[in-house]
Structures are given as C-alpha cells and as structure tokens.
C-alpha cells in the first residue's frame, strides 16, 4: 500500500493495472497531479508495455481526467503499447463516447476481458 488516494496501481506481467479511486476534478489538485505523475513514471518502467484503467469505483469523470488519459495514451503509443479501459459506468461511457475517445481506446465490461484484449500481456 502506497497511500494513494486517487489511483492505486499494481503490475501484472507487462501491464500496469490502475484502479481509479475518486474523481479528479482539477488539474490544480496537487495530490492528484502528483499521483498521476507517479503513474506516468511507473508506465515508463522497462517491463511495462500496456496500461489497464479500471473505473469500478468511479461513477463519472470530467475533462481533466480525459486530458490525462490522452497524455498516458500518447506515451504508450510511442512504444506500441495499448490502453485498455474497463468497468466504466453508463455515464462514463457517455463521456468517452461524447469525446470520441471510444474510437481511440477499447472499453471492456470486465478486467479479465480488458486483459485478454491486451494480447501479449503476461
């Protein structure tokens, strides 16, 4: 346990599994920003190829979270990694659809399904 309050992260094979714990409302929220920066660093680890974002605990999110996801995705894309998303609420799906991000990332019903989509994940 690392004391994170916005995101908890765990590694499974070459996948960094991130559980979103609470809504990030502002880029000016220092704790959230610091935690996200830590996650980006973890995603840079040599053994990590893909990232799985699990939204189980989050009912909704806004443009700040979308922007951060884009940053992460661009980083993964540089090394041909994938971003998989799972357990998104109905409103969350609407938000991703509205922003057209469902055309960029696969949204899955469960964590297992998201893992399967990552193909070579250990």
């Amino acid at each position: 346990m690392d004391g994170s309050i916005f995101f908890s992260a765990d590694t499974k094979g070459n996948v960094l599994v991130v559980t979103l714990l609470r809504s990030v409302g502002s880029i000016a929220e220092n704790d959230a920003r610091d935690e996200w920066a830590d996650l980006l660093e973890q995603a840079d680890d040599e053994g990590i190829q893909h990232v799985l974002l699990d939204f189980t605990a989050l009912h909704y999110f806004g443009s700040v979270m979308l922007e951060w996801m884009v940053t992460l995705w661009k980083k993964l894309r540089e090394r041909e990694g994938k971003l998989a998303i799972c357990n998104v609420s109905s409103v969350g799906r609407e938000i991703l659809h509205t922003a057209k991000f469902d055309t960029l990332w696969d949204i899955h019903e469960s964590r297992d399904e998201a893992f399967s989509s990552l193909g070579d994940a250990a």
């Binding site: 346990m1 004391g3 880029i27 605990a57 922003a99």
Partner: protein
C-alpha cells in the same frame, strides 16, 4: 441499535475491537476480513458505521474509505491506525474517513469516538431526510476564486436536483458533470484568464500561472456567481464570471480527429451534451444551462 462493521484481517484484532464495542455499549457488531468482504457485508447487514484496519489484503482501508464514500456516503468510517501508518491515515481522512483511533489507544478512545461519530452521522441523516422534502430550490452562490469550494457546491446541487425530483440518479450525475465543467471554465478561463493552449504547450507553466493569478489582483478579486432555480419540471443554472469573456464559436471542435489530442473545448462539449440548452451571453462570461425533466414510460423521471 446501531450496527457497527468491524473490518480487520487479523482475527485476534477483530475479537478485541468487537469485544470493546459489545462490552461497553449497545451495538450490533458485524465483521469483515478485508475491504472487499466489507463491501459485500454492506448488502447483508447495512451498517451504520465502519471501523477498519488500514493495512489488509485484497482491498485495504484506504481503498475501502473511497468505496464507502462513493457508494454509501452517509456511513462514516473510523480508521484504526498502527505505528508508521500516520501518513496513510492523513490521506484516508482527506479521502473522507470520519476519524481515527491509534491501535494502542483502542481501550481508551474507541467507544467514545464511535459514539461521537454516530452522533454526527445521525445529524447528517436528518439533514438528508430534510433535503428529501425539498420541492423547489431557488438560490444564489457567490464564490471567490477558490477551487476547493467547487466539490461541496456540486455535492449540494446533486442532492438538490435529486431531492426536488428533476431527474434520476444517472441524469443528476450528468447535470453535475456539466456544472463542474462550467464552474472550472469560469474560474480558470474566465476569472483567471488562463488559456488552454498554454496547457498544451507547457502544463507546468499553466499551473505556475494559475498559482500566481489566484493571489494577484485583479484576478483574485473576481467572483463567480451561480444562480440556481430547480423545480421538478426544469433546472436553470446561470454561471457568471468576472473575466473579459470569450467567443465560444472560436473554440475548435474537440471531436474532430485532428483535435482529439488537444486540451481545448472538451468541457464545453460535455456541458452541451448533458444539458438540454447551453447559451452564452454576448460577452461570453455568463452561461445559462437548462435541464428539463424527461418523464419515463412509467411516469417517473
């Protein structure tokens, strides 16, 4: 009789805590072995309060706090902290835990803390019941350039929209997403005159400028007013900042494939998606958003 859910992966500690609660006061004590088990127990015993260890397998105390706050916001959580877990305890309190008791002080402090927290929680529940009696709400808030006021305002408006009966839970969340985006637009881009393009160029520069302007005149002196009129038929939300305004027509379409990776315009897109009407004044520093009730087939909203 209040039901207390004690969460600890150590059977010895569970017995100790349960024994203290049962011996001194009239509580119905239930048990869970970790955070995940605790969330399942919510379905079984509907606890009034949770007392939890911090470090546990599966779902730890901090994650449990996050889940309880989001799924059972009226149920308070008390943490039991061991030596070395103070920093995590502080984070848990900021994440919404009601209080904490050091493990080496359980004998002296646990029952009193549980009673104190239950008293406050009863008040919260009464408030929630009162809010459920609301049939119309017309009010105005004036906020300083203080971002920390936005979440409590959103929480209040969420409760208001649900209580008045304007819309169901899903639609009230949609309303909250739109309101949150509008309020942050008013603060960041309105009163503080921060451009999204700066964020794309250099996020740190954007944040530095944010910190500078929120304590510098004229930016710090500007206010955001929020006029609310919610009835079961419709909700009107007028948000006005004191910045120079902007022309919303100049924003690029964030759904254009060429703009998908840019930071600009997504907040306004969400506002337009989740409200029925969104209109700006000529200056571009006031937005009026309308949400209308949409009766379902069975007559509810």
């Amino acid at each position: 009789m209040p039901t207390i859910l004690v969460v600890d992966d150590s059977a010895v500690d569970r017995r100790l805590v349960g024994g203290l609660l049962e011996k001194v006061a009239t509580f119905n004590v239930q048990y869970a072995t970790d955070g995940r088990d605790a969330m399942q127990q919510f379905e079984v015993c509907d606890p009034d309060l949770v007392v939890t260890d911090l470090i546990m397998p599966e779902m730890d105390g901090l994650e449990l706090v996050g889940n309880v706050v989001s799924q059972h916001p009226l149920v308070p959580v008390i943490l039991m902290t061991g030596k070395g877990s103070e920093e995590i305890a502080v984070k848990a309190l900021r994440a919404g835990a009601a209080s904490y008791v050091p493990k080496n002080e359980l004998n002296n402090l646990l029952v009193q803390t549980v009673n104190d927290v239950l008293t406050v929680a009863r008040g919260d529940r009464s408030q929630a019941r009162l809010m459920d009696c609301m049939v119309r709400n017309e009010c105005t808030f004036v906020l300083k350039s203080d971002e920390s006021m936005i979440p409590p305002l959103i929480n209040y408006l969420h409760r208001c929209v649900r209580s008045v009966g304007l819309c169901d839970e899903t639609n009230s969340v949609r309303v909250c997403v739109a309101l949150e985006e509008a309020l942050r637009n008013a603060l960041h881009h309105g009163n503080l005159e921060l451009a999204s393009s700066l964020r794309e160029e250099d996020n740190n520069k954007y944040l530095d400028l944010y910190e500078e302007r929120r304590v510098t005149s004229p930016y710090r002196d500007r206010r955001i007013s929020i006029e609310i009129n919610v009835t079961p038929e419709s909700g009107s939300f007028v948000i006005r900042d004191e910045g120079p305004g902007f022309d919303p027509r100049e924003l690029p379409d964030p759904t254009d494939p060429a703009n998908l990776e840019k930071a600009t315009g997504r907040g306004l897109l969400l506002m337009r998606t989740f409200m029925d009407d969104v209109a700006f004044n000529k200056q571009g520093n006031q937005v009026t958003m309308i949400k209308r009730s949409k009766p379902s087939k069975n007559g509810s909203t």
